[in-house]
Symmetry: C2
Subunit: 295 residues, 2 copies
């Protein structure tokens, strides 16, 4: 089968063998947003020459304004409920020989402010079997970091932190960004740790952010270290809010290496164990979901 | 004398009688940022025809990149220390008949992340005498909200929350702004209160912000009410962080009516008493500082 992880800003296609192992991998920057109106052409182009009939899609491609608006499956849900929520898509000419199926998103309606995810549930599906019984805490860092609680094979809670988006906004558009370099400098570990530490002093995030301004004003750090200080402050606030309800338990980190590095460092500093998992879990997840659906 | 409150984006000049009462008031949008390189001309134009010799300036005009870089006076400091920190400016032709003096800023170096203010110390100077002995909590809402603790006539603590700037960033540049109207709708009290309430549930601000996204997705509020919900969330987080150290004590609110309305409503909801003061306190403050300096 072919597994397609189609996010807002990128597109990854995996060709899998019958056992779900990745044989081939292709990617493009034709995210779901930029591909509007020409989804068949974009996907057809990317998987050209791959003859596997079954194609499973997940991610923002199933959002409102995407190829198909998929429903949100409510928590708690495991492989079975997600597989049951998959829907078939009609595809045009370049994909006529394929059978396309899309994975649903998930919603947590346990609080007044509902939380949701699209795509992350598929990565997690690829991990559910190996987690075993009991309660597990998963973190998928990103523009919108997802924190997910898994209990006995089911996703029971979703919490999203807008950490990555806020970092970008403050870098590009705020008074804090004005004293920072245009380029993204390498991580300055000391400044990152200082941000992590200051963020735990019990002040609010809105208050701590102004410390980036005065750090520049009083030259507490070199200019190139200021983004790392801001990053440490934001990630520190994200982690402490999430860990308040499950201190001491190891966290499973899923995602790309660069970002995982920062989160792993921050979690270790806070005394929390970490287990890392690769992004390709999405392919494993789609394979397991297709099998559960009997496709 | 003439008192000039010259902030980053606006300029207010007050003509005062010998007792410090305001006789006349003029304002312009020639903030300290936009007036760079032509400070004498801008001020000369605004106070044309006012013959008082003494002109006292305060605000961002005394920042780095302003007309004169004034030092920061450290906490604790009262009228005496602020007056002693005033410095005389040289002025060109249109202001040749005037003696110009600038008020210093203030810094709180009690924490690793230093906090500062410029301009607010002058508004507070106008209030110090009437506060009396004991501990008082002041809040000056704005792009950067200032929280100031006054003890027995001295400013002892400064805390800045970037609430207003973050609201603007999220409205204009984030995914949250995409589902909001371009214009700034009137306050929706129910949505504001819901934001205030949700912000107190113990989640982090980064997490709560995503609730604005899902509120739009699941149509929890009308589109025009979303900015009020966001405002309630942000102000709620600002207040709770500040009130953690002084719950139950009344807060003195200084500033413009529209913003004070929201802060007064939020503080009342949290069970905190409020006393309001007008922006014109800056003029009173400059009068008292000039007198203390013997000008």
């Amino acid at each position: 089968m072919i597994a397609v992880d189609w996010g807002g800003s990128s597109l990854r296609a995996y060709r899998l063998d019958a056992g779900g192992r990745i044989i081939e991998h292709r990617r493009s920057n034709d995210g779901a947003l930029a591909s509007h109106g020409r989804f068949s052409q974009v996907l057809g182009g990317l998987i050209e020459g791959w003859s596997e009939r079954l194609v499973v899609l997940s991610g923002m491609i199933g959002a409102r304004g995407g190829w198909i608006e998929m429903p949100y499956i409510d928590c708690p849900a495991g492989i079975g409920a997600l597989a049951a929520g998959m829907r078939r898509l009609d595809a045009d000419a370049p994909l006529a020989g394929h059978a396309l199926w899309c994975v649903p998103g998930m919603a947590d309606r346990g609080r007044e402010a509902v939380d949701v995810m699209r795509g992350e549930e598929t990565q997690i599906a690829g991990l559910l079997d190996t987690l075993g019984p009991g309660t597990h805490h998963l973190c998928l860092p990103g523009t919108h970091s997802k924190w997910v609680q898994v209990q006995d094979g089911s996703i029971v809670r979703i919490s999203t932190a807008m950490t990555g988006e806020l970092y970008g906004l403050l870098r590009r558009h705020s008074i804090l960004g004005r004293t920072m370099p245009e380029h993204e400098p390498a991580l300055d570990a000391a400044a990152f740790d200082a941000g992590l530490d200051d963020g735990g002093a019990g002040h609010g995030l809105l208050q701590d952010l102004f410390g980036v301004r005065t750090a520049a004003l009083f030259e507490r750090f070199a200019t190139d270290a200021l983004p790392s200080y801001l990053s440490g402050l934001l990630i520190g606030h994200e982690l402490r809010a999430e860990l308040a309800s499950h201190a001491g338990v190891a966290v499973h980190l899923l995602g790309s290496d660069a970002l995982l590095e920062r989160y792993a460092r921050a979690l270790a500093t806070l005394g929390v164990g970490v287990q890392r998992h690769p992004e390709e879990l999405a392919a494993t997840g789609m394979h397991l979901l297709a099998r559960a659906r009997g496709l």
